[in-house]
Symmetry: C2
Subunit: 337 residues, 2 copies
């Protein structure tokens, strides 16, 4: 195990001060009037021996880390995994690394993770915030850290965010079902006060109201296990035989709903029409395919990174907050019916 070189080793080998080496490596040679000849000599030597500054020491002194903290609800969920992946790639291209972790929508866990990120001197934050996290995030912002939220936002916290037009999306999807002649359209969602969920609910209700149809809303607890969810869906189908269409508020609910419907031996969209929020390979390949509200995954990731980079590069820390709302696409797959 050959010992790692330090900046002092470099300085000693070249008989110069480590200050000089530091200035040169940080591109401050000109500003510090270090001769071109010496700059060349140092860079050459550093490359030759493969010296890499210890970034812990660097972060300790500068308070910067070139690391972005990414907190998503659940990294094993396809929607978040795909966004995380793209964010990782884009950040990487800008010279930033990503540390990510799942919040599980758990406030305390999220608080701990934020504390850990702060502790590791993360430069910026990308977060899908759980409930009751307003204060922690406000603290981050107050302390000057760039924070970009996505998927949902916090009405009480002024910062950048990227969301989709949830209200219109479910309104539109519900209207689509109504136009196809469905009357008993159910909406299955999580009982949540998060903006995206509230808006999705509202879109559904608005469409139903406009057509003077009766709403049928089921709210389930976020922490329900998959098994319990399946049971719940089965019971729902059993007790709501008149329902001829269901709109699911996210991909996980849609997935479990599909399973339950399949178990119940119902046909889609013959017996019951389905629309799920978030598209999914599953919905595309299911026979017959399930109509879905597709979120623009790449665009979301692109905008999140764009906003964060703007904040990271901003000299004046006082810039306007930007709110980006992207359109979704209703991917109709049951048109044959």
């Amino acid at each position: 195990m050959k010992k790692k070189l330090s900046i002092v080793d470099i300085a000693n080998s070249l008989n110069i001060s480590k200050t000089t080496v530091s200035f040169i490596l940080n591109g401050r040679a000109q500003e510090k009037r270090i001769s071109d000849e010496l700059v060349k000599r140092v860079l050459q030597y550093v490359k030759e021996v493969g010296y890499k500054p210890n970034s812990l020491a660097k972060s300790l002194r500068t308070g910067k880390s070139n690391i972005i903290g990414l907190l998503v609800q659940d990294i094993s969920n396809h929607f978040f995994a795909t966004i995380a992946r793209r964010i990782e790639d884009l950040a990487y291209q800008s010279g930033y690394k990503i540390i990510y972790s799942s919040t599980d929508n758990d406030t305390q866990k999220t608080q701990e993770l934020i504390a850990m990120f702060r502790d590791r001197h993360v430069d910026g934050y990308i977060i899908t915030p759980p409930d009751n996290i307003e204060e922690d995030i406000s603290d981050l912002i107050k302390d000057g850290f760039p924070v970009v939220l996505f998927d949902r936002y916090l009405p009480k916290v002024a910062t950048d965010y990227v969301v989709v037009d949830n209200l219109f999306s479910t309104f539109n999807a519900t209207q689509y079902l109504i136009d196809k002649g469905h009357k008993n359209i159910a909406f299955i969602t999580y009982s949540s006060i998060q903006t995206q969920m509230m808006e999705r609910l509202e879109g559904y209700e608005k469409a139903m109201r406009q057509s003077k149809l009766k709403s049928n809303i089921t709210e389930v607890d976020f922490h329900t296990t998959d098994q319990a969810l399946l049971k719940l869906m089965a019971d729902f189908l059993e007790n709501n035989k008149n329902v001829d269409a269901i709109l699911f508020a996210n991909n996980h609910l849609g997935k479990c709903g599909l399973k339950a419907i399949r178990k119940a031996g119902k046909s889609v969209p013959g017996d019951i029409a389905l629309i799920a929020f978030d598209d999914y390979e599953l919905f595309e390949l299911y026979t017959p395919a399930v109509t879905a509200i597709a979120q623009p995954i790449d665009e979301i990731a692109d905008n999140v990174i764009k906003l964060l980079m703007e904040r990271l590069n901003a000299t004046a820390s006082e810039q306007k907050n930007q709110h980006i709302t992207l359109a979704t696409e209703l991917i109709i797959r049951d048109s044959s019916n």
Copy 2:
């Protein structure tokens, strides 16, 4: 923005030396003969003001970080995302944080990521190694870092790993197809020299050989885009009309295969029987459901963490390497046929 407290602030407030504070906070009070009374006073005060040591400074001095580096092939792939998620949870329970990143099976990217992890003083590594990474991983091991591989291993590198019995899995799956009367069984895989892929191929070939059937193997490049893959699969179906069963070497190939088959208007398993390596919700819900070789995802994660924790806690760095091979399960879903 209230300034963060440092250990010096604590020491000054209590009129004692920071050395003493450090010893107490690190549980070395007894060993260092610090009076119980002072210990109590310090702990009380630290709790009161909410002081948390700066872990960067700590890592810089100790070389330890309580962080584990996790490198998976692709975090947006369901198999890896689920394992990563569980590893994250388990590590968290043992007081470790996870940094993860996707290798994309790209050797250079992986090398850079390993360098970054080293640089951030990661304590241990969990890796699904790409090709030609032997030397970098050997270096890690030589330098005393715990390394656990999974999904595949490197024959030339002596370290812990957790894999599944790939050879038997595909042998068994192929035999199942043969027993059901299929004669023209194709195997679609990536052209890869990675152990898991080689073994899967071998299992297929062995079963075909034993039954004196002719192998039909298609190897595609790992970096083929989804679109190209779809085209490729379509062409395959077009040019192999006699094929009555296909075994896919992983979930992604299986997924694309399904799409192609659906486009070609073929029925499963009527026209063509399918088995995919890795189970997937998609395969379960597809109509009719697709038979799959399910890997024991939880068990893989559990064993990976177990091995890594054993190494991290080992006093004698010279312990035996452990190789764990887990069984898969052939989930038969087309038995009706």
